[in-house]
């Protein structure tokens, strides 16, 4: 039976002790949380992806009962946007009132190193300002804090480093999941998954799920199809991987690994969907999910990036609607919309000009002119090209020509 849940979600740590690896970092973090006399009221957790930084923050908030106000800084551009989210929150609880027993608020800025150079003018200094002015503790997470642009940040926060999670720990953790999922896994299989993950717990769990989902027994042989992990995947590879994904977990991992532009991806997925799902029921189901992803994209707009995970979740589900009907096909490229809009631009402009002229003469909007007048004017001009209305409407010859030749819409 297909499990609807991602195991990374299902086995998300709810207590600090459940976070695998980086015991030392965990201890330091807890100490920072508990310490009433904060020397630094902000802390920066840094280290490779998937090793438990975000998991630790969430587990701690769960265990100690404080509220997290989260913001994904890597997608928040400009000072204005950052302040809009983090601004009000920083005036809540006075710092000295904060303790792990009381329900306080914490500001959590994930992926602060995602702040690019030029695009996010004032991004880093805005964050520094937030930290300085904040009256609640600020937790930040980053993958690579050695970047020059984060130097101002490092001055105002304590640093806690996370390392790749060690293989034996990952194996032990995978084993726990297997027990809970009633999967009997060969030691060598778990070993291989752990080795392949390069210390990234999240991808290890995803790999486990994608291999063991439908099975009762997981053998070493099964793990042979694990490809080596590639950090940056291009659009072509992303699409290829997306449309050949055999499970939700596989699609999910792929999407989280890929660094392609979300909007381009959404469009290309939409284009190629009917090639992947030739059965109309499957296509309808997959398209419904892509449509939901688009709704999330609409809601994200330019600032609600915390909704991005739901966007990706819908896309991943769209990839896994019917794994059994997987086939290979030629990808559509470039996107249909781009080509169509490109070569029809002249037509659209011509029509728009005509509608503007009609609108001006008949006191209607261009849109009304298009739907309520153009069909009639066209017929009249077809019957009689020299109909005096065209001069009254001030239409040029080419415009009359265009209307006459234009296909009936």
């Amino acid at each position: 039976m297909k499990d609807d849940f991602l195991w990374v979600e299902k086995y998300r740590p709810k207590k600090i002790a459940e976070v695998v690896g980086n015991e030392e970092a965990k201890a330091t973090f807890v100490e920072w949380l508990k310490n009433k006399r904060h020397t630094k009221k902000a802390v920066l957790l840094y280290g490779p992806p998937g090793v438990g930084k975000t998991a630790l923050v969430n587990a701690a908030s769960n265990e100690f009962g404080f509220r997290i106000i989260e913001m994904n800084a890597s997608d928040t551009r400009t000072e204005k946007a950052i302040n809009k989210v983090a601004g009000p929150a920083t005036s809540f609880v006075a710092l000295d009132k904060f303790s792990t027993e009381s329900k306080g608020n914490l500001l959590f800025l994930d992926e602060v190193d995602g702040i690019a150079g030029n695009e996010d003018r004032g991004g880093v200094s805005a964050i520094v300002k937030i930290v300085e002015e904040s009256r609640v503790p600020v937790i930040m997470a980053a993958n690579d804090p050695d970047l020059e642009k984060l130097r101002p940040l490092k001055k105002v926060c304590a640093l806690i480093r996370f390392q790749q999670v060690r293989i034996p720990l990952i194996i032990a953790m995978l084993r726990r999941i297997c027990i809970m999922q009633h999967v009997e896994a060969e030691f060598e299989a778990l070993e291989r998954i752990a080795q392949n993950s390069r210390g990234d717990v999240r991808s290890a769990i995803n790999d486990l799920q994608s291999l063991a989902e439908e099975k009762r027994v997981l053998t070493l042989q099964d793990t042979m199809m694990l490809s080596s992990r590639n950090r940056d995947i291009s659009m072509y590879e992303t699409l290829k991987g997306f449309f050949s994904a055999k499970s939700l977990a596989e699609a999910s991992t792929l999407l989280s690994r890929s660094s392609v532009d979300y909007d381009d991806l959404l469009l290309s997925v939409s284009d190629n969907l009917p090639l992947r799902y030739t059965d109309s029921r499957e296509l309808a189901e997959a398209y419904d999910l892509v449509s939901k992803a688009d709704v999330f994209r609409g809601r994200i707009g330019t600032e609600n990036w915390h909704l991005l995970k739901y966007f990706f979740n819908c896309l991943a589900q769209a990839a896994a609607v019917a794994p059994q009907s997987c086939k290979s096909f030629e990808l559509i490229s470039p996107p249909i919309r781009i080509i169509t809009l490109f070569w029809t631009k002249g037509k659209r402009t011509a029509l728009a000009t005509i509608c503007a002229k009609i609108g001006a003469r008949c006191h209607v909007s261009r849109e009304t002119a298009k739907h309520d007048f153009v069909p009639f004017v066209k017929i009249m001009l077809e019957k009689q090209k020299s109909n005096p209305i065209n001069s009254w409407l001030k239409l040029e010859l080419e415009e009359v020509d265009y209307l006459v030749k234009m296909g009936k819409f």
């Binding site: 002790a17 970092a25 806690i160 293989i167 034996p168 194996i171 032990a172 084993r175 297997c178 210390g199």
Partner: protein, 110 residues
């Protein structure tokens, strides 16, 4: 090769600048016991190198602590030694014994 225990280990006497460096790299010094312990792991690799240079460039290894059984053990025992990016560093791990016995990661209260 020198094996140290991260909870407390002693080093030969060093000059003031080196001492300050050690503290900056994450060590804490207990005057009464005359021993060091690790307080911050942020610069652990550099710390290891520094300690090594103090000990006449001997290879320095810290004992690992098994999170399941609590035992201390050296990295050299470990099957994944070559693959590990944090070998010999004083972190928690799972010992070969526990791994062989098929013990799973439990949320034990420590």
């Amino acid at each position: 090769m020198v094996v140290l225990n991260k909870k407390a280990f002693k080093l030969p006497r060093v000059e003031k600048e080196k001492f300050i460096l050690l503290l900056r790299l994450g060590l804490e010094y207990d005057r009464e016991q005359g021993s060091f312990c690790i307080s911050s792991y942020n610069n652990i690799e550099r710390l290891l190198d520094t300690i090594s240079s103090i000990l006449n460039d001997e290879k320095v290894m810290f004992l690992q602590n098994c999170i399941l059984c609590g035992r201390d053990f050296p990295c050299s025992d470990c099957k994944y030694y070559d693959l590990c990016s944090t070998k010999n560093l004083p972190f928690h791990c799972v010992c070969t014994q526990c791994l062989k016995e098929g013990r799973a990661y439990e949320d034990s209260d420590k």
